[in-house]
């Protein structure tokens, strides 16, 4: 396609026209509909009796029965509690460990700093997710298999968190740091009083990304857990749906929506915050 000269200088239909061509709008809406369709379908199945799971009759009565049956058929309350403890525990650990390390990398000079930072970055590419066998063995030696700690511990030192916070801390004007030090504040006080408050948006962004990651994580928890007391919802859902439920799709779909529920509701309520957080977390 070559550049076509426009007749005169006009906005309508040109690059400056922020209203895209009708064809684009139609295509965009079609893709959007296609994208949301599987979810709508899941909602339909979950809120209707099994006989309507693929019969789309608008008059079909809505029911919560599938949710009731799913909830009664497996210890979902316990799974939810486990997942909740997992994501809060991991996040708390990550915030402390990554803040301290990021502070050192951002504002201290010490021998071996760049080598150490390069070693941190290795984890961006090779996450604990792929080191299943060795990490399983390590946790087995520590004697903490089948516990929530075992699921979370390999993720506590997060290279991503260190990287993100280091970037944020480097943006803090050095004058603020020095002013606090002149008043006699030690390094930790400066960190707590100056750096942490200024990096708040980054903490929110990182927190959302971390919580969604660990709420959704599956393979590693599947490997290290084997009892109700430690399984997060993702593994609980898998045990439930591959168990003796047969092909009762309505109940399985209800359980599926239930496990995604908290994040989905949070996302729909705080859409802007979520999108901005993921954006912020992605710009390195």
């Amino acid at each position: 396609m070559s550049a076509k000269p426009l007749a005169g200088w006009r906005v309508r239909g040109s690059l400056l026209d922020k209203q895209p061509p009708t064809l684009d709008v139609v295509a965009a809406w079609l893709l959007g509909a296609l994208w949301i369709l599987p979810l709508l379908y899941a909602f339909w199945t979950a809120f209707h009796a099994p006989e309507f799971s693929t019969r789309f009759v608008l008059s079909a009565p809505l029911t919560l029965d599938n949710f009731r049956r799913a909830w009664a058929a497996a210890p979902f309350a316990r799974y939810f509690a486990n997942s909740f403890m997992l994501v809060t525990g991991v996040l708390a650990g990550q915030l402390v460990v990554c803040t301290l390390a990021a502070y050192a990398f951002a504002r201290f000079e010490f021998a071996g700093k760049s080598v150490l930072f390069a070693l941190v970055l290795v984890q961006l590419m090779i996450m604990p997710d792929v080191l299943l066998v060795e990490n399983y063995r390590t946790l087995s030696r520590m004697g903490i298999l089948d516990s929530i700690t075992a699921i979370g511990l390999p993720y506590v030192a997060s290279a991503f968190g260190i990287f993100l916070l280091r970037q944020a801390f480097r943006m803090v004007p050095r004058e603020l740091d020095e002013a606090a030090r002149v008043e006699g504040a030690g390094p930790l006080t400066v960190l707590w009083r100056v750096y942490v408050p200024l990096a708040r948006p980054v903490y929110v962004a990182y927190g959302l990304v971390s919580v969604s990651y660990h709420w959704n994580n599956f393979l590693w928890p599947l490997i290290v857990t084997n009892s109700v007391t430690s399984r997060p919802v993702t593994v609980g859902l898998q045990v439930f749906s591959s168990g003796d439920q047969g092909v009762d799709w309505s109940v399985i779909t209800a359980a599926t929506l239930m496990t995604s529920g908290p994040l989905l509701v949070a996302f729909l309520l705080f859409q802007r915050q979520f999108v901005q957080s993921f954006m912020r977390a992605g710009i390195r």
Binding site: A3, L15, L31, V97, A157, S241, T256, S260, F274
Partner: protein, 289 residues
């Protein structure tokens, strides 16, 4: 050691210790174990040199999973990146309902892969599934999408694309918002068409984002196998066995950890290659403002 250096080391210590324990040591351990037999009944595995790798060379499932994974990556990476870019351009425009569109595109990202896989499993189910109902209504013959080796991998790839495109859209969206409006104005005055502006101005400016997204997409193609566990368990006939899934089976179904370590070395090499590729590319092809 000076006082500040001591402070710095103390600050880094917890992170360094945990990273060493759960990332660096396991990497070294994986390589080490790949040269050893699987420990049995409390006895450490004996040094067996390259035997695990020899076994790998003759392991049809390994080659199948490697090939599957390559095909899976070649399908999911470009398609999800292209879709992500198109989505971002639409959502960034002043199109009516763009907030709604952004929500539609991004929602799959927030859902657990395992939940997504369950929903799609039902969609693909023979006879009862929505896809069968739709093709049946069009008078097409019944087809077991996930149960046929020729279509199963494509089905799991579709799920990955659906889940990831909206996530990558976000990065393009962020990048588009940093493009100065003056560029579009200048191009408009010069009489550039939309297509021309996209190809010659926007795409080069978005190159760093594309690269970042691409590396992440490649990593995800090798790292995320949750949907395989739910939808196909690697079947039918290993048609959807991806490398990490094969490692999971060898390591935790057959408990052959020595061989699983050798397989993991291959996966680590692929991920390392992606990382090095990013470094090399960053220097050359990428166009910064």
């Amino acid at each position: 050691m000076s006082r500040t250096a001591l402070h710095a080391w103390l600050l880094v210590l917890p992170a360094a210790a945990l990273l060493a324990l759960f990332t660096h040591w396991p990497i070294v351990g994986t390589v080490w174990d790949s040269f050893h037999a699987t420990p049995r009944a409390g006895h450490a595995g004996a040094w067996i040199g390259l035997d695990n790798y020899r076994e790998m060379a003759g392991d049809a499932v390994f080659w199948r999973s490697l090939w599957n994974n390559a095909a899976y990556a070649i399908a999911t990476v470009p398609i999800s990146i292209a879709l992500a870019l198109v989505m971002a351009l639409w959502v960034d425009s002043h199109m009516r309902g763009r907030t709604w569109l952004r929500m539609a595109f991004f929602t799959p990202t927030v859902l657990p892969m395992i939940a997504v896989a369950n929903i799609w499993l039902f969609f693909f189910t023979p006879q009862y599934g929505l896809l069968e109902k739709a093709t049946g209504a069009l008078g097409l013959a019944s087809h077991n999408w996930l149960g046929t080796p020729s279509t199963a991998l494509a089905c799991v790839a579709v799920v990955a694309i659906w889940k990831e495109a909206g996530f990558f859209m976000i990065f393009y969206l962020a990048a588009l918002q940093t493009v100065p409006p003056a560029l579009a104005e200048a191009a408009a005055i010069e009489g550039a068409s939309r297509g021309y502006y996209l190809r010659r101005v926007l795409l080069p400016l978005l190159m760093p984002t594309t690269l970042f997204v691409m590396v992440n997409a490649v990593i995800n193609a090798f790292r995320l196998v949750d949907h395989i566990v739910v939808m196909t368990r690697g079947g039918p006939d290993n048609a959807t066995a991806l490398l990490l899934y094969h490692i999971y089976e060898v390591g935790f179904s057959f408990w052959d950890t020595g061989y699983a370590a050798a397989l993991t070395v291959v996966l680590l090499a692929i991920l390392a290659a992606a990382a090095i590729g990013q470094f090399v590319f960053l220097d050359r092809r990428v166009h910064y403002q």
